[in-house]
């Protein structure tokens, strides 16, 4: 049904989709900015079209350019990857209008889940536990106060259209509500063009646990083992794993059932992830991502299912190759290798990769667009590579992860490789089940040096 797909993304996720296309037998069209002329996604796709200058707003976020490229190349589908236009309801709507199959749910579903206040309402309506708080947006400070009276303080005010902490305020007591409401709403309006906010009980020491689903839009659905993504820095995930360690079976089961109920109620089509917080033995829905996640390989490693292939199977009308609760084997963990210097406050790094040698051997997967000579440009996000390891137990995964990180050679710029090595030596992390505040102000006992013996100075020259 799908003969040619345009991949509206760059970097490792573009490569991920192009790899799937080649394996399935779908022609792939890369789009790229002039800064990405030498990038692997351009080189490995069957076709490639330059869509604009380096700035993402003029290239990877440039809807007319991408639609024009799809039309020029005769692509009958667009895969948005993650980030950029992946959760842009207008883009999905334009694709629908242009008769180009958008790999994802209907634009209306994207819009519904994109508004967090509305997503909370939908979830609550089907009996999914949500954090105690407002039913929908709070239209005034006094509505927030009413919530405060109901669920108690501290509260957190969040932007409906939000993400990444923008338009978010913690309110410790009723007298702080007025000022917090005004500033959160103003900030949200500036950041997202939508000032609406909602309020919920503020919880600390929570874990981030999520459930991956793929649905065919006709009621058939596959629910995957949960992922734990609690190791974060400033709301950015750094390490993800599956299954979630130290989680009671009832919570595991409850989250999967909740995810299934929500997705079922949406008439959902494609891959999606239902995100929960787990705190004090309870779980609460926070949001749903209507796209492929960065951390999807973790699920692929433990289940053997190719999630991107399933996306195409759904989009082409072939139907899912799995259904129900998908069984899992062993444990998998993903480490995000970012072009950031963990020793200098995660200062972004740019410039040419001088030497590159990814790790190999058993249970190791690397998803990366790097090669020696590739130039890391300052225009895009800092994700260079994802290292995913798989083994029979979490304990073995920790050891395999350290082994693979140790071998991973990236020379020319600093990366988060040593941070990961240090985290792997942390007792709390090794025990499992840390909260999202794990990294905040933490002194890691190891600096992650000493181990990476290839990356630091490169390898002997010939």
């Amino acid at each position: 049904m799908i003969g040619k797909v345009l991949v509206a993304n760059r970097g490792e996720v573009a490569l991920r989709v192009i790899r799937a296309c080649r394996e399935i037998g779908i022609r792939s069209v890369a789009v790229y900015s002039t800064a990405d002329a030498d990038s692997l996604h351009r080189l490995l796709a069957d076709e490639a079209i330059c869509i604009g200058p380096p700035q993402a707003a003029s290239s990877y976020l440039n809807i007319p350019a991408i639609i024009a490229a799809a039309e020029l190349s005769g692509a009958d589908a667009i895969h948005p990857g993650y980030g950029f236009l992946a959760e842009n309801a207008r883009f999905a709507e334009i694709c629908e209008a242009c008769n180009i199959k958008f790999l994802g749910p209907a634009s209306s579903v994207i819009a519904q889940m994109g508004d967090k206040a509305s997503a909370r309402q939908v979830a609550a309506a089907v009996g999914v536990p949500v954090t105690p708080g407002s039913d929908g947006p709070c239209r005034s400070a006094s509505e927030v106060k009413r919530i405060g009276a109901e669920v108690g303080y501290p509260l957190v005010i969040k932007a409906s259209a939000g993400g990444g902490g923008k338009g978010m305020r913690v309110v410790r007591a009723e007298e702080e509500v007025e000022a917090a409401y005004t500033s959160a709403s103003r900030e949200a309006g500036a950041a997202f063009g939508d000032g609406s906010v909602y309020a919920e009980r503020y919880m600390k020491e929570l874990r981030h646990v999520e459930v991956q689903v793929v649905a065919d839009g006709f009621g058939k659905m596959a629910i995957f083992p949960e992922r734990d993504c609690s190791v974060q820095r400033r709301y950015q995930k750094l390490i993800e794993e599956s299954p979630a360690p130290e989680l009671p079976e009832t919570a595991r089961k409850g989250m999967k059932e909740a995810a299934a109920a929500l997705v079922d109620s949406l008439g959902y089509e494609g891959a999606g992830t239902v995100e929960f917080v787990y705190v004090g033995g309870e779980f609460y829905f926070i949001e749903m991502n209507t796209r492929l996640q960065v951390e999807h390989p973790v699920t692929e490693m433990v289940t053997g299912v190719d999630l991107v292939a399933e996306q195409f199977a759904v989009a082409s009308g072939e139907g899912l190759s799995v259904a129900g609760n998908v069984s899992s084997r062993g444990h998998a963990m993903e480490f995000r290798i970012n072009a950031e210097d963990p020793r200098r406050n995660f200062l972004p790094q740019t410039g040419p990769i001088e030497f590159y040698n990814p790790p190999g051997g058993p249970g190791v997967r690397v998803d990366s667009h790097l090669y020696a000579g590739f130039k890391v440009a300052p225009y895009y996000d800092s994700l260079l590579a994802k290292l995913i390891v798989h083994a029979r137990t979490r304990e073995a995964v920790l050891r395999r992860g350290a082994r693979a990180l140790d071998e991973f050679a990236v020379a020319g710029l600093e990366t988060t490789l040593p941070l990961h090595l240090a985290i792997l030596e942390d007792e709390d992390f090794r025990r499992g089940g840390v909260s999202t505040t794990f990294l905040a102000g933490r002194e890691l006992k190891s600096d992650g040096r000493g181990l990476p013996r290839l990356a630091a100075t490169g390898l002997p020259s010939a």
Partner: protein
């Protein structure tokens, strides 16, 4: 140089000993060494190997570019984006958008410009259509249209060269 010297094929003053240079170049290439330097009296010859990168490779065009003719010029595009530029004394007008290139305002009408035409800065050269939007591409120099680089009704990438214009003055 030194007077008394006779026997030898005295390198005539000023004449470069190109044969010797050639032999050293050969030797360098065959041997794989990095540099050979020979000095004799006033004569000094240095031959160095080329220093290369890991692959020393060139940009390989993607396997089957949708718009094949644009792959080569892209290297330029990357280095100097912009609607027009100097290129061997020529200006090259480039496409600021992805879309379909049309030489005429509407089907059946005359092209905006033909080779040999003089154009003034700000004058329309063509249309690039994207999502039903007709983008008129304007000349940013005055001069003579020397070459039309894209066929009518073909797709063009961002930054693809469209016209060569010999600037006036």
């Amino acid at each position: 140089m030194n007077d008394g010297g006779e026997s030898l094929p005295e390198p005539e003053k000023g004449a470069l000993p190109l044969d010797d240079v050639g032999r050293l170049v050969e030797l360098l290439a065959e041997s794989g060494v990095g540099e050979i330097r020979v000095r004799q009296g006033e004569l000094e010859i240095t031959v160095k190997a080329r220093i290369e990168g890991p692959a020393g490779a060139t940009v390989e065009p993607s396997a089957a570019p949708v718009i094949a003719q644009t792959t080569a010029p892209l290297a330029e595009a990357v280095s100097e984006p912009g609607p027009a530029e100097r290129n061997g004394g020529m200006h090259v007008a480039r496409s600021p958008v992805v879309g379909t290139f049309y030489r005429a305002p509407a089907p059946g009408e005359e092209p905006y410009v033909e080779v040999g035409d003089r154009v003034g800065a700000g004058q329309a050269l063509c249309i690039v259509e994207a999502m039903k939007l007709m983008n008129e591409i304007l000349a940013d120099v005055s001069g003579e249209v020397v070459e039309v680089l894209v066929e009518d009704a073909k797709g063009v990438e961002y930054d693809q060269p469209l016209f060569r214009i010999r600037p006036e003055g």
